[in-house]
């Protein structure tokens, strides 16, 4: 049940959570959990999926009994079950919910919107945004260097169309602010041009603004000469596979 590369299957994790796994196999998972970052996230997800499935009555009788015995044991778990039932109800009406408009918000000029709202709106529109001029308050004096900041959102990574990045004509450096998935990990940022990959920065520690986690790095403008490039975000603890890739078309502003 243990895959050498990807780790235990979802079914194995579920059996572990239900304490239905043989002790020797459970001991292996315990050891793995102490060293494998990915397993930590997968286990958390398996917990949520398990509660979701229980709330929908999708566990077989043995698993349902084990769930009640080992999982449904305190107020927190019962709260989780209540939330899971609400998610299940929501799912039944998902089609309606998906087309629902966001809750009405106060209309304010764009420049006065909080950054998180700006990013949310940008993500919703699926666009690549330059935010340097929109909100200087977030990083205070760090922004006195007049380096233009460009934000790369997860929602606009590969799979959407190439984004156009317009650089200032005389800029020698730009700052990239890049959304990351895991605020406690460290990241590296690369630019790839015609198959040649160069590192922009490494050991980047994310900052967090509510649900938005990001890293920032300053890149020599020469790395992003006019033309097509690919920007890659790599999680240090994720085996070198890019977490996100952005195709960008760089143009010089006149």
């Amino acid at each position: 049940m243990m895959h050498p590369v990807t780790g235990p299957s979802d079914d194995t994790l579920r059996l572990w959570l239900l304490q239905l796994l043989p002790p020797a196999q459970a001991a292996l998972l315990e050891e793995r959990l102490m060293h494998d970052d990915a397993l930590l996230g997968r286990l958390r997800e398996a917990e949520i999926d398990l509660v979701d499935d229980y709330s929908r009555g999708e566990l077989d009788p043995v698993q349902a009994h084990a769930f009640r015995t080992h999982r449904l044991v305190d107020g927190v778990q019962r709260d989780n079950l209540r939330a899971a039932r609400a998610w299940a109800s929501l799912r039944e009406a998902a089609a309606d919910v998906r087309v629902r408009e966001p809750a009405p918000r106060e209309t304010v000029p764009m420049r006065r919107l909080p950054r998180a709202t700006m990013l949310g709106l940008a993500a919703a529109a699926g666009v690549f945004v330059a935010v340097a001029l929109l909100d200087w308050s977030l990083h205070g004096s760090m922004r006195s260097d007049n380096v233009a900041t460009y934000t790369l959102l997860a929602a606009t990574s590969r799979g959407t169309e190439a984004s156009t990045l317009r650089l200032p004509p005389a800029g020698v450096a730009i700052r990239l602010q890049v959304e990351v998935a895991e605020p406690t990990h460290r990241y590296r940022l690369f630019v790839e041009t015609q198959g040649s990959r160069r590192q922009i920065a490494g050991g980047l520690e994310p900052r967090q603004l509510r649900a938005y986690a990001y890293v920032e790095a300053q890149a020599d403008a020469a790395l992003l000469a006019p033309g097509t490039h690919r920007v890659l975000l790599i999680d240090d603890s994720d085996g070198g596979e890019p977490e996100h890739v952005w195709d960008v078309q760089v143009e010089k502003n006149r």
Partner: protein
């Protein structure tokens, strides 16, 4: 043995110093170790996971303060965690009484569950409305299927976004934790009023 380092703040400092030897950022290493222990105890004794994690970290700090040679901190912590788990299970079996057995507790009746779910659903919708449209669509898609379809759907989502399953999972976990924290707060407020 260093008596000061083996207790309280001394033990904590000793643990941070030991973690600093492996990682330049001991605070981050401490948090990661704590997360792992919490996850481990959530598997076996979810109701006591926080308290048991603190016990392990405290004992680990004491060992570090006593100057015990700890080659691999995480493996050493796991060893302590297994002992702590054994002790906790023993305590639980001693105080176990039939009336406390959750399997013997009657399930709430269907009507009560339906009412409770309706209240929670209203809260969930309100909490989802605090997200931007893209995040809301994402989280509903991510948790929008089950069984084999669940895995396929998540793979398709990752592919469509040019992302990895790991990255997608981490984002979904963060969003779901935030939403459920919001939901719990709303439900608590309602229960009080």
């Amino acid at each position: 043995m260093n008596a000061t380092a083996a207790t309280g703040a001394g033990a904590f400092d000793a643990l941070l110093r030991r973690l600093a030897a492996d990682d330049g950022d001991p605070a981050r290493a401490y948090e990661r170790l704590r997360e792992r222990l919490l996850a481990l105890f959530r598997v076996y004794l979810p109701a006591e996971s926080e308290a048991l994690t603190d016990v392990v970290l405290d004992r680990l700090g004491k060992r570090a303060g006593e100057g015990v040679a700890i080659d691999d901190v995480r493996s050493y912590a796991l060893g302590i965690a297994r002992l702590v788990l054994q002790e906790a299970r023993l305590r639980a079996s001693r105080r176990h009484e039939a009336q406390n057995d959750p399997t013997l507790r009657p399930d709430p009746d269907d009507e009560a569950v339906a009412q409770e779910t309706e209240v929670a659903l209203r809260g969930l919708n309100a909490c989802l409305d605090t997200l931007d449209a893209e995040s809301r669509a994402f989280i509903l898609d991510y948790y929008g299927a089950d069984g084999g379809a669940r895995i396929r759907q998540r793979q398709q989502l990752a592919q469509a976004r040019g992302s990895t399953l790991n990255a997608l999972r981490n984002r979904a976990l963060r969003l779901r934790a935030r939403i459920e924290e919001c939901l719990r707060a709303r439900l608590r407020r309602q229960e009080k009023s």
